[in-house]
Symmetry: C2
């Protein structure tokens, strides 16, 4: 059993993930030494109350940043990279906001920067995009990259819970935080999609270029009605090339059951990468959990000790396309009288919106119209909805939710 | 646009995959040069009628072996590795049969050996196991690693086709070869599972240690009856640690719909890797196609040009466990008279086999008993089936098919 060259890890932050990582390093040190000839151990640990960063940096061969947030994480990671020390970070906010600066520091000193744990839990989305698909032309990435919202939506669909009830349940089980804003508002998913977009397209994409919506306004009725069209609701992140630019968005969307993301349930995450030559690759797995995230960090550590290269050249600025084509589900409550349908159809036609599926049901006092549209420019669709909302016979505000059509089949 | 250092590729074999690969190299040369600083181009090409291997080896920086089969591929790959040239191979027969010898040659000269395209089409199963999970303790790998059989089984389930009809359709569409034995007999999947097992467990596993069955004897009735239990039939490869040894097998199996492989349809492939710390990762994508396989080869090329290391140490011999625990589906045609069920139940009980689900249906002349068993040692189950088959009231031969239980849920 070779001892291997001793490698000291400087651990910044020792919460759930940090504790699990320290334990994993100890448990797997023999196996890693056999594999890489290097034996890692935790050297210094920095917490909010103990440790000195300068001393830890000086004493460590590799820095693992698990503090989260922008400050002081940004400063620590930059200083480590500038000092030529390989860095592993699980910090999606940092990489999605200051990616260009971090990559430049990594390229300048040659110190690799790894951050698999920042996106999609145990799913090796970053490694697959940066290595397996490095030579490919990626057209689009779809992801369910937030486990909290996927858990809530799964519970709403399976148990008929309201949004508030499902959120409460997620909080009780530890899947959602006391302040769930970052998760349910879509911001967490947006940060992860910014990172995936940057790597998939080789462009300088940052968090503030991602348009996002959350799931706070989704009702169990939306999910129940859409079931008539066999649709499943997910919070989906999309990064795609459009007309020479790109679009990176996060939004609640209905999926057809044959879509690779439609069967991703509970707190699982999944990422689908589409490229002409490969068609598509889908990866799925647990989206959260201390030991799962720590495992992703450990994978990065083994790569560093094995000598897998990971510095990135300068990326061109991204041109963001604002108005994209989407399919929509539209739900209207209208008075049940002749001529209503014709006026709705006329409003849609006025804006070049065409209907793919249509369903009308009478209720005691009114009628419910539920439609799925063919893909159309979102500006056109929303103009049509505004016109429809102003019609005198339309009751409650129209409910419009995007639909992702099946792209590939088998 | 930097030219990059010129890299000459020696291409052995120029069939569908070789042609697609040559085209991809040309199309992506600029992008690869930007990424790696090295510009690849096809130098010599060896076919059965043209080219000289010694000359190509001397003139090339990287060898890409797409000949298939053991001879002369083995000789060429060994000579290239011994000459210190990095090798990419898509040859599952070669790697699953002569893995130990190839890895030793690679380790001795330091020339890396890559073979992502040998297993599971575009799915980066090998990279994920060898890199992301290099530090993890993998307990089990499940895979649908043969697209032809998955296509046939999907068509039998969806269209009610017989096995022969579905095979004919697969042949007409180019998914199955004129002689489909390697695919439908399970041998192709067995070779791929041997490779996955070797890498996942770090043990010296070879093709001849894999027990495999194919799908030739599956009937559309098996699939239809099992639907009553909500089961889906797939040809599944399993590599798992058991009692200090391992078991690597390929067999037709019923899956519960919540299993990550149950929703893999048509000619798609999928691989699920289970490890305590990560829980599970599932990857899916197209299992075949010239350009898809060529893309996997291109991914390996980019890794070589980037300097991703890939030599492997000596692996310990694998201890193969012969008798494993499995759950089974059992279908019996029996006379419809009192006492039958008691005798069947007694035979099962004699061998410690216990029933999980049971369904009985009368037919005009007889009764059909369909059961799903709890997991039990296969030797016990088959002893019970032999006892049942000998009972005087049992008609047609019992149909027994393995069932894979849901392990994880969400």
């Amino acid at each position: 059993m070779g001892d291997g060259e001793a490698i000291k890890i400087g651990l910044l932050g020792r919460g759930t993930v940090g504790g699990a990582f320290a334990l994993l390093v100890e448990q797997r040190a023999d196996a890693i030494a056999r594999l890489t000839g290097k034996r890692p151990s935790i050297g210094g640990v920095l917490t909010s109350s103990t440790g000195d960063f300068d001393q830890i940096l000086e004493d460590s061969d590799v820095i693992v940043e698990l503090i989260g947030g922008l400050d002081p994480a940004r400063d620590y990671v930059l200083r480590a990279l500038k000092a030529g020390k390989p860095v592993i970070s699980a910090n999606k906010a940092l990489v999605s906001t200051h990616g260009a600066e971090l990559f430049a520091a990594s390229a300048e000193s040659g110190a690799p920067l790894f951050f698999e744990a920042a996106v999609a839990g145990v799913i090796p989305a970053i490694r697959v995009i940066e290595e397996s698909l490095a030579g490919a032309h990626v057209e689009r990435v779809h992801g369910i990259v937030n486990g909290t919202t996927n858990y809530i939506l799964t519970e709403m669909a399976n148990s008929g819970l309201s949004y508030d009830e499902a959120l409460k349940q997620a909080q009780d089980l530890g899947y959602a935080e006391a302040d769930p804003t970052a998760d349910v508002g879509g911001g967490d998913a947006a940060a992860k999609m910014a990172i995936l977009a940057r790597l998939a397209f080789g462009l300088d994409v940052s968090f503030d270029q991602v348009v996002f919506e959350g799931i706070e306004n989704i009702t169990s009725e939306d999910i129940a009605y859409a079931r008539e069209f066999d649709l499943v609701l997910k919070l989906v992140g999309t990064a795609e090339r459009i007309n020479g630019g790109i679009s990176v968005r996060v939004f609640p969307a209905f999926l057809y059951p044959s879509h690779p993301l439609a069967s991703v349930h509970g707190s699982f995450n999944a990422v689908t990468v589409e490229s002409p030559a490969i068609t598509e690759i889908t990866m799925s797995g647990p989206g959260a959990g201390g030991v799962q995230t720590a495992s992703a960090v450990l994978g990065d550590l083994v790569s560093i000790l094995s000598g897998v290269p990971r510095t990135r050249g300068e990326a061109a600025p991204a041109t963001i396309v604002d108005d994209v084509k989407s399919a929509f589900y539209l739900h209207l409550e209208v008075e049940d009288r002749p001529g209503v349908l014709a006026e709705v159809a006329a409003a849609l036609g006025n804006h070049d919106v065409s209907v793919r599926n249509f369903n009308q049901q009478g209720t005691p006092d009114a009628a419910r119209l539920v439609m799925v549209m063919h893909p159309t420019l979102e500006s056109n669709f929303f103009a049509a909805v505004a016109e429809i909302a102003a019609l005198p016979f339309v009751g409650a505000a129209p409910r419009a939710i995007r639909v992702i059509e099946e792209e590939f089949g088998s």
